[in-house]
Each structure stands twice: as C-alpha cells, then as structure tokens.
C-alpha cells in the first residue's frame, strides 16, 4: 500500500513537471555532463526558463555556467537528463554520449537542426576572446554569418541582406562601421558586432557567454541597456556573467550555479551571503564587500575605491 502511494506520488510529481515544462520555453531536468569520465562538471541540474525571461547565470570559473549554455545551444551532449525546447523533448542517455564521442559523431545531426522547427532560431553571442580579431573580415561579413543559410548559395552577400545587416547595425548604433575590418573596432564595438550577428535572424532566445567580460564601465552599461531593451520587447535572454556586483544584482532573474543550481530568483532574494558562500566559497568579509558595492552601484557616481573592491572580489574568486 505504502509502495503504491509512493508510486502514485511519483507519477503526480512527474505530471506536475511535465505540465510545468510545457509552459516553459526551455526546461532542463536532471542534467549531468562532464569533459572527463567520472568527473561531472554539472550534476542534477534542473531549470525552467519561461518565455520573456532575462536570466543571468552566476558562478565562479569552472562552475559549469558556460558549459550549461553550450549544452542548451547543442555544442555539448549531456551524459543524461533531458532538455525540453518548447514542446520538443530531447532525452539524453549514455548511448547518445557514446555516439557523440566516437567517429559516428560525423553523422549525428547537431541539436540545433533537430530543434530548428521549435525555435525560429537561437541567437548566440560567444566570448569575444574566442575569435581571432585579426581575421580579414568586415563587420558586414561577420553579421552576415548569422543568416548564412538563408542568404542564397552564392558566395557574396546580396543587396537585400546588406540592407538588413545595415538596419541591425543601425539599431545597435554601429552602422557607420559596416565596411570596416573587425580589428579596427574597440572591444565594445566588437561585442555589438557579435550581438548584431545574433539578432539578425530575429531569434526568440538570445544566449550570451560573458558579454561584459573585458569591457569598460561605459560599454558594459551600453550592452546592458541594449539587452534590457530587447527583453522589454519580449526576447528571452540567457547570459553568463562573472560580474555579480556590476550586473548580476541588476538582472531581473539570477541563477547561482556551481556544479548544480544553488539558488534562483530575483537578485535580492538569491544573492544572500549564504548562497554566495555556497556558490563562490567566499568568506563573509568578501560577501560584505559585495554588499558595500551594491550601495555604490545604486549611486551613479562610481568611485575608484569601489572599483578596487570589485577587482579584489574577482581575484579572490580566481584564487
């Protein structure tokens, strides 16, 4: 009898999760992944992302936040668990993992193509350090990559596509750089070029890996304003960031992650000393510094000393 009720409870729980999953744009359940056998980077990750959410993944280096992004966009295949993209559910088992890690991976279709009908598209902005900025391409060519499969078979960019590219660049305030080589741009402008490449396909969901790393204060604010504006128009945004104090505290929804999800919700509820301690392993003194920083962030005049505190926190994390 007891067994039966336990079984029934399990079924009810599963039904509850299925119903919840259907309402979400993205649902992740019991996800496990690692780069080396028996050394999981992510364990038992459960996350629901409803349409229109602006979410920041926070965690120290090696916490698995970028890895989770790469799983969502199909660059890594998890060991187990499932991801539901809208109504399309992809189950991962050990079998799938063994296929991906063998020569048979040549014949496995990328997840993006499997779920292509669910999302009109995913816009992805990688870390700007991930490419060689000396590469001989112009801004137009880079943005054009975002619609490579919709812009004809010929090698050049059509007039229509050029106008479309120009329009996206204009929205981001970099229209005059269209013909420039990417090397000639500043870090913030390069970041906006990547953003333009992601936005040109009108994605439902925008995924950004550390969009504010290595950029100055003004650029960070500029990028944050652009993202807030896109989100206000209904775009779902998922981003990773190291920047708890400058950005994390101002995001509508944050997820603290370190191998598994530690906590999630609005920053005021999530960024508590207890959660920061669990996520970053920070000492209480450092947590206090972050609290101090919060006070100075709410004040538009940022002092050099508060910047110093910020960097101090970053270096503590690295160590």
């Amino acid at each position: 009898m007891g067994h039966k009720s336990l079984h029934e409870n399990k079924e009810v729980e599963n039904q509850y999760h299925e119903t919840r999953s259907a309402e979400n744009l993205l649902s992740i359940r019991k996800l496990e992944f690692g780069y080396l056998p028996h050394k999981p980077v992510l364990e038992d990750v459960n996350l629901d992302i409803p349409k229109g959410r602006f979410l920041g993944l926070l965690g120290p280096s090696g916490s698995g936040k970028s890895t989770l992004l790469k799983i969502i966009i199909g660059l890594h295949r998890p060991w187990r668990g499932y991801i539901q993209y809208g109504s399309e559910k992809i189950n991962y088992t050990k079998t799938v993992k063994s296929i991906s890690s063998s020569a048979a991976s040549y014949f496995v279709r990328p997840i993006k193509t499997l779920i292509g009908n669910v999302f009109s598209s995913i816009g992805y902005v990688p870390q700007i350090e991930s490419v060689d900025w000396n590469f001989p391409v112009t801004v137009t060519e880079v943005v054009g990559m975002g619609i490579w499969n919709r812009s004809g078979f010929y090698p050049w960019i059509s007039k229509n596509d050029k106008e479309r590219i120009q329009s996206v660049l204009g929205t981001l305030g970099i229209a005059e750089y269209a013909k420039r080589q990417i090397r000639e741009l500043s870090g913030g402008e390069q970041q906006r070029v990547f953003l333009a490449r992601a936005l040109i396909s009108n994605p439902q969901i925008l995924i950004l890996d550390e969009p504010t790393s290595g950029v100055d204060y003004n650029t960070r604010e500029n990028i944050f304003t652009i993202l807030t504006d896109l989100n206000s128009k209904g775009m779902t945004i998922i981003m990773t960031t190291h920047d708890i104090t400058g950005l994390g505290k101002r995001l509508p929804w944050v997820v603290c992650i370190n191998k598994s999800i530690i906590s999630q919700g609005p920053p005021n509820d999530v960024l508590t000393q207890e959660n920061l301690l669990k996520t970053y392993g920070l000492s209480r003194d450092i947590c206090n510094l972050i609290d101090d920083r919060e006070t100075s962030i709410s004040n538009p005049a940022i002092t050099d000393s508060s910047r110093h505190n910020h960097f101090h926190v970053e270096s503590e994390k690295e160590s």
């Binding site: 199909g74 993006k112 060689d132 001989p136 391409v137 060519e141 054009g144 990559m145 090397r183």
Partner: protein
C-alpha cells in the same frame, strides 16, 4: 628570339596552361589553409601523397586514385588527431605525412626498376606532363572552384568562429572532411607540375601575399588566385628563357610576390593620405598612440 617563341612548342603551351591552373587553385585553396593556421599542411600533404603515388604504382593500382585515397586518409587522420586537442595540428602533420613519404621512399629503394620517373613528382616536371595529367588538373580546378563557390559562406564562418558556426547549423566535421578531400585532389593535381618538395610554397605564398594587400576575405580569395596565376605564368615563361627548372622558378616568383606585397603594405602603412582641416596631403609619417601626425 621572339617573345612568343615558347608558344611555338606544344609541350610548352600545354605546360603553361597546367601551371596557370595549378597556380590558381593553389592560390585559392591556400587562403583557407593559411587562415586556418595550418600552412604546413600543404607541405605535409604533398609528402604523404608521394607515398601513396609510389605504393599504388608498385601494386599496379591507378596512380591518381591511389594517391587521392592516401592523401585524403592522411588529411582525415591529421584532422582527427588535432581535434583531440592533446596533440597540436603541426605535430600531427609532421608524423602522419612524413610517415607517408617514408613509405614511398621505402618502396622505391626496395624495388629499383621503375619505368615511372619519380623525380618528376619530387621536383616537378611541367614540360613532361601528359594529356591525362592535364585533364586531371582541369577537372580538379573545376571541382575546387565549385566547392569554394557553393561552400564559401560556410567555410568563412567555420574559419572565423567554428563554435558559433556549429550553433548556426554548419556541419563543421563534414565540411572539414570535404575540404580535406579537395586539398588532397589539389595536391595530386599539382604534384607533377610543381613537385611535392616545392608545393607548400605554391599554396602558401599567394595567400600570404594577398593577406598583405587586403583585409577583406572575398578580395583576399580573388587576389590570392590572381597572384597564383600570375606568378605561375611568369615563372613558367621565364624558366624557358633562363633554362631553369619550372617548378623552382614558379615558387621563387611566388616568394618574390610576397616580398613585393610586404613592402607595399609597409609603404602604405607609413605613407598614406591624411588631412589637416581642408588640406589633404601624402607623405611618410609616424602614428603615435593618439594617432597624431608628427611631421
């Protein structure tokens, strides 16, 4: 002697057609190789293919098909080893391709009596190419151009940002395999005219010369192909008058083109137009940190 004298000889005309086609496709494919940071692969692949050519000749298999299969397998092996990330691509190229070359040398020394002159493959003998060789060069040239034309957008995306290309649905692994096959075919087609020992320069020199002249990818492809064609023509043509080896002369013209391009890039950097209010003028000057023009 008339400047058109060389064209009175059929073997020369055939040779110059072959050289121009080979120069063009080496220049075309070279762009992708140089930007992929695998300049050494042209050198390695040509050595590996030499092994395949010798082995297939000895066992009585079609010379071209054997070399193509061998070259393709070498390229796939290099890709696979460097994909694992534990060993870098240059080390993988070094081992795989030199082993292929060694097998070729081993077969030659083991059986001394060959009708085929393998020196032509090593150092190139463009004046001795047969009609069959020319047909192979023409076919490979057409295939290489078709491949680049239809796959250009995907190739550019993968070269610039492979990870994001995968997110946007580019089948990167398959693209790399197809590229390896095209490269193997280009190497085989070029083997008899340039020679396996000189081929690397014919692939790399036009591409790096073009890189010096432009920051635009499509323009770089066109320039590299044109430089390949022009240097091949000039090298071939002058080898007739200087009575020098055609492959070596073509490669030296390629190296010369790089020297001229590098010099041009240097002069352009330091000597270019700028304006002070309404006055626009040109003269050599230094650029300081804040881009102030000091005269």
């Amino acid at each position: 002697m008339d400047f058109l004298t060389p064209f009175d000889y059929e073997f020369f005309t055939r040779g110059i057609v072959a050289a121009v086609l080979v120069g063009g496709i080496c220049g075309l494919i070279g762009v992708y190789i140089v930007l992929r940071g695998m300049s050494y692969i042209g050198h390695g692949m040509s050595h590996a293919v030499f092994g395949g050519a010798v082995v297939s000749y000895v066992i009585g298999f079609n010379y071209y098909v054997g070399a193509a299969i061998w070259g393709f397998l070498s390229a796939v092996l290099i890709n696979e080893i460097s994909r694992r990330r534990k060993i870098k691509a240059d080390a993988a190229i070094g081992v795989v391709t030199t082993a292929g070359f060694a097998i070729g040398v081993l077969f030659i020394t083991a059986a001394q009596s060959f009708h085929r002159n393998f020196e032509a493959i090593l150092f190139g003998n463009i004046l001795g190419i047969t009609d069959q060789d020319l047909y192979v060069i023409i076919t490979v040239s057409i295939l290489a151009v078709i491949f680049v034309f239809f796959f250009q957008k995907r190739l550019l995306f993968v070269l610039f940002d492979k990870e994001t290309a995968r997110v946007y649905g580019v089948r990167t692994e398959i693209l790399e395999i197809v590229f390896a096959l095209v490269l193997a075919l280009v190497v085989i087609a070029s083997m008899n005219s340039i020679g396996v020992t000189l081929l690397a320069a014919a692939i790399v020199a036009p591409a790096i010369s073009a890189r010096m002249l432009t920051n635009n990818f499509l323009r770089m492809i066109i320039l590299s192909s044109v430089i390949g064609i022009v240097t091949a023509f000039l090298g071939m043509y002058s080898s007739f008058f200087f009575d020098t080896a055609s492959g070596s002369t073509i490669v030296l013209f390629g190296a010369g083109a790089f020297g001229v391009s590098a010099l041009y890039a240097f002069i352009r950097k330091s000597y270019h137009s700028h304006s002070h209010g309404p006055i626009k003028h040109t003269h050599p000057h230094l650029h300081t940190d804040k881009h102030l023009h000091k005269h």
